[in-house]
Symmetry: D2
């Protein structure tokens, strides 16, 4: 017991020392020494940081929040002066003072070899604490602000992933696939056949590390079910002239530290351009997407009193719900499910019923259009549980993207006649 | 006449329209459409921008200055609120409001293919106007702020330039060499022999475009004159075991739009590390540098009344100047010149006599030490005119860099005994 | 039945036509048209060849043997003339006439895109028929002659295979590993850890196709058993300073069509040089090899009358055999097995008892030395069956290779004292 | 004097020793040691060879001729046996015996690193001696035989040379351009603009060493003069849709040691295919070629008695010559020159008047057609002197190549109506 306690004390001492050194290196990095020799000091800071225990990490982030924020009085004073003079020099001074110093700290940390990877993993750590430590929100805003600037699409490199890619990369694709799990190398191989495509974004400061990737199937028509796309033994479609539709059937993030940094939007559009150039006969770019929150929503709605749902907008829903209740889950009529889903996706993005489906928000926010609702489309355990087997096609029509997005900002969902006609 | 006038009118109309379109695309880029489809809109904005005439450019920058700056009242209000609450959300709102919106504009512009190159060239245009249009200072501060973040050494790629490099790159090296002009391909070839090195920084978003490069000679001892290093017909030193000293004899920027963005400091240190790894026998990393402002300064000082120069600090100088005056320019005694130069470099960086020599400021600011002053070191026309033939060795001792820089910030110049002994 | 017969007839007609076209293209290739346009004609020939049925292949090779051989009378006449004159022009004419024309045919076939691959696969087909059709031996000699010239080590590219190699390549490594089967991607991954190496030879005309590869383990001492080397879950040795011994534990050919073309000898020596440069502390290069024919030989020898084995050389063996017989297989004493194996490897390469073990012949022919015989070294089913669990270390001492090989040519086996001491 | 003599003696001793070592290494390479360790011994042989003086080289080649040739009696005996038995094994033995052993020597020499380069340079040395030492013809035949096999187009890599190519390569292009001299880097740059192409063949065993290259101009119509193509300041044609004709205006060999190895034929056809794929609108592939021997021939013919020229075939020529003589060189009428040139190119390839023009032989032998004769096409000093300013277009019509070549073999020249109509 005594020894264990001693060990504990010693460990704590070492931990305190790691924390102290990390913070000291960070302070030095922002000072005069940091100007002369920032790469060397940033390298030390990163190296100390990487030894921090979970407890020390908590302290580290708290310090970032409390000690590396702007001086409120000075910002107020400079804001007052600028409001009076509107002089460029006063604006420069104000902007500098209002920016939390930890932003400059992060900018200097990424100068170290491996610094960018360290900052991205720091953010991942931070995100895990955000729920419980609300005080870190401003720290996270700084991370997000800078990472969005650094991981902008002008700096990203789009690479095709195929069977000639390094095994190390393919291993990561298998690990990170989040939508339709890849069951080993044989399964992956099918997804890299000539009638399939996989593209990933890379950042030059994170060599060999995919940030996000999308899997595409090249087909003759818009698909209504996922199973045939994943069928391992099906021979690949051979004739590129028959490829009319590019289906984005899976998109997965690989870097938890980049949450909220827009990558998917850029990836889908850049891939669409690349595919259009390779296959001029392609006419349609769409998704085959899950509706992961549909079943939950439906369960909730069924429990709601119908009078809480305002009558004007929800006539269609009420009828549908009525049929649904009277027939029971066993009689899940396809048309009924489609109507419920249409209602869910078209109307619940309004303030009253938020949050709606995250996948829908992503694609509609990108400017896609809700094109078709398919029943019996995903009969996997997860598909049945989350969405009663439904899947949705979102259509990316490059000429309509901006208008669709504007409509979405205005709380309207762009949808095809086939979908609006359901209600 | 009539036709010319008509042409003029038409041209102006087109110019106005280019300007209007550029601004419109910039506004769109910051709005809702820009969120959905920023790459496409940024591409248009860049393309319109590149057609702007000189007059329209002036208007464009003025608009950037006046229309894309923060709202003073709102910043003041949020600064007040934050000073009261110190709540994370209030800090987030304040930081967002205090940052000039043109920063977000630039961040979105570089999303376009070629967007980074466009922003760098925009900055070059802007710098040309800064002297006469002081109101643009805050705009320039925003460019500088973002470019420093994007062109940080963690994102830069260090590449060796040699005789196997693409001709297109070597052509740029010839064009941009700013210190010792490269007289054609034969001259360049000598500088890429096995006892010479050339390294350049590249940025992934500007492929094939060197940002800055340094030329290095590998020698047996610290050199005191430049001519032997540039001698074209001298056979290259062949035995790497004799390379004891790496001399940075030329460093040149290639991108006017990156002025003020620290690249040279990082380049020198990264190259030193690379060379040390390749040649473990290297003991000394130093420069052979011009003192481009020495002759001008000397001419000024000679004209100064000696009583304006305060006696306590300038005893050495007075004696030197006295000797200089009585002996005349023809009798430029080597020791005297060295003393004058030592005085110039050691003492004029204080506030009273600024600006001192820019090359000295660069290397001393990087943490180098003033090691040796060489006479008859550069007998070219320019060398004689600018510095009476003097050149200086700055020593990069990696273990001393931080301490040297701190001394420099404290207005002290780090110098060898050989140099301080001159006074 | 009628339809099937018709189909048969039609197929045969098509087959005959494929054969006729192949032969016609080959004849054209050797004629005047072939001089002007050989690449195009070779491309056709290859394409027709690839459609040949098994029956047609037989006819094709027979034609190669009979119609593309030298004219005996003309060779005889030219040989006579050269014996008389010894004039250069007569020698040139003789050499040209004595070379079978199918050699020129093959030289022109490989001009086609994919021609080299086609010729290698042609050889593989040919080898399969060699046993039953002795008349093809001269055809095969021509293939072997040319392939040895084309696949010489000066043209081969040595590449390291690791976890960053393309999946397509790794898939082939898994498929072709002939000595210790690779059980899927997880097993392969272990063999590519930092304390393991895999190298392959490639030929520029067969891009992406490994010809032969060797697997190496970096260890602290010469290993006596295979299982620890293949153990999948063992953490890799991390400290390169502890790597003293490089063990070639598996070498596999990937191209059946290159049988008899010496690749392994060159591969092992080039890999040894590469490893020595990477790890200067390496002291020993050896193998851990099976003795695949040992058990068979032992079974045969046991059946031999002892008087057929000449007494002078086989005293040791007789004693050993006697012990072996009296004690039975169950009592396989390690020392006894080692002695038997030593006898087998040291003495059976003499004319009287050939062929000895093929693996021994390969390494001893390369100039390696028989260093150590290990019992209980391979306890796999195959290891027990083929060699009663024995494995052997052959030592590659670069300074001794030539002398060892000369000894081997003189029918002497180079062996360590430890091995010779067994007898 | 004494010292010089001593030096001479010593040098000779060293020379003799270099020669002895070279030969010894060659003999070893063919013996048993060579089988075990050929790469190491070949490396020594190459290294000794490279130190040979001019005198020793002579001896070396003589030894190759006399000591490394086949045994005539043995060949005769084996030829006799094969003529009797026609057995495969006898054919194998015969072919082996009739092949000069120096072929195997060369095959083993190229196993050394740098061995292929050494053999190619050996051949260049050999070619320089061939005229005076006729006994080396059979040695040269062996070199040619093997080099043709090793430098076959299936092993060669076609690379585009452009302004992004390494300076080291471009330097070689400048040096080796044999047809229209490249006057420095500025001139080269023009030839690499977007409306020009340069392609070179490389061999994997000679990395970075171009073997042969061709320069191509992309134009709207078939050109009749060279000067506009070489005009340095002319802006490049920008619109690829206007490229209708690809003109091979220069083709140069870089490796004297590969003389007689067919590379140009393959290069032109492979480049034509590549260009056709890049510019589907290209309709015509032709040359703009000199007629380097025309003026010499004309001078000879003018001196000939007209009765030596047989009347039936030369009526046209006689009339032309008559006009030519009476009008004098000053009155070189364009039409007359064209007729003379047409006669020269169409009729002099017959046995009686050989050798005809080497450039014509090359292109006609490749299967091209004589398309057009242009006067005032090359007004350079050399052009006027060699061909009175004439240049010729040869047309490569891929569909006609084989037929044209067959006609050429039958001593007929394929020519357009425009050319045949001249006579």
């Amino acid at each position: 017991m005594a020894f264990a306690g001693l060990g504990q004390a010693r460990r704590s001492a070492r931990e305190r020392s790691d924390l102290a050194r990390t913070i000291e290196a960070c302070r030095e990095l922002l000072g005069a020494r940091g100007e002369a020799n920032s790469v060397a000091i940033a390298t030390q800071a990163v190296s100390h940081y990487q030894r921090l225990s979970a407890d020390s990490l908590k302290d580290f982030f708290t310090l970032l929040a409390e000690d590396f924020d702007p001086d409120p009085q000075r910002v107020l004073e400079l804001a007052g002066r600028y409001a009076q003079t509107r002089a460029p020099q006063d604006l420069i001074a104000l902007a500098r003072a209002a920016e939390p110093p930890r932003q400059e700290l992060l900018r200097r940390l990424i100068r170290a070899p491996g610094g960018t990877a360290a900052v991205v993993s720091m953010r991942a750590q931070l995100l895990g604490r955000l729920r419980t430590e609300r005080g870190l929100a401003a720290v996270d805003a700084d991370f997000h602000h800078l990472l969005s600037s650094w991981f902008n699409p002008g700096f990203l490199q789009l690479e095709q992933v195929d069977w000639d890619s390094p095994a190390r990369l393919l291993e990561q694709i298998i690990r990170h696939e989040a939508v339709h799990e890849i069951d080993g190398w044989g399964d992956l191989r099918r997804r890299l056949q000539p009638d399939r495509r996989c593209f990933a974004f890379f950042h030059p400061a994170l060599p060999g590390e995919p940030l996000i990737f999308v899997e595409v199937a090249l087909l003759g028509s818009m698909p209504g079910a996922i199973a045939p796309l994943l069928e391992r033994d099906q021979p690949p479609g051979q004739d590129p002239r028959r490829f009319k539709v590019a289906v984005f059937y899976s998109i997965s993030n690989c870097q938890p530290g980049l949450r909220g940094v827009n990558l998917g939007n850029f990836l889908i559009k850049q891939v669409a351009e690349r595919l259009q150039a390779e296959f001029p006969a392609l006419r349609t770019f769409c998704t085959l997407s899950p509706v992961p929150s549909f079943a939950d929503w439906l369960a909730t709605v069924e429990r709601l009193e119908s009078d809480r749902v305002r009558p004007a907008r929800l006539a269609a829903l009420e009828a549908a719900l009525h049929a649904h209740r009277t027939q029971g889950a066993a009689a899940h009529d396809a048309q009924l499910l489609r109507r419920l889903c249409a209602f869910y996706l078209l109307h619940t993005s309004s303030a009253s019923l938020r949050p709606s489906d995250p996948v829908a928000r992503f694609h509609l926010g990108n400017g896609a259009r809700l094109e078709r609702i398919n029943t019996n489309a995903d009969l996997s355990r997860r598909g049945l549980k989350q969405s009663h087997g439904l899947m949705v096609n979102y259509l990316y029509d490059l000429d309509e993207i901006e208008a669709n997005h504007e409509r979405f900002v205005g709380e309207q969902v762009s949808a095809s006649r086939a979908v609006t006609g359901l209600l």
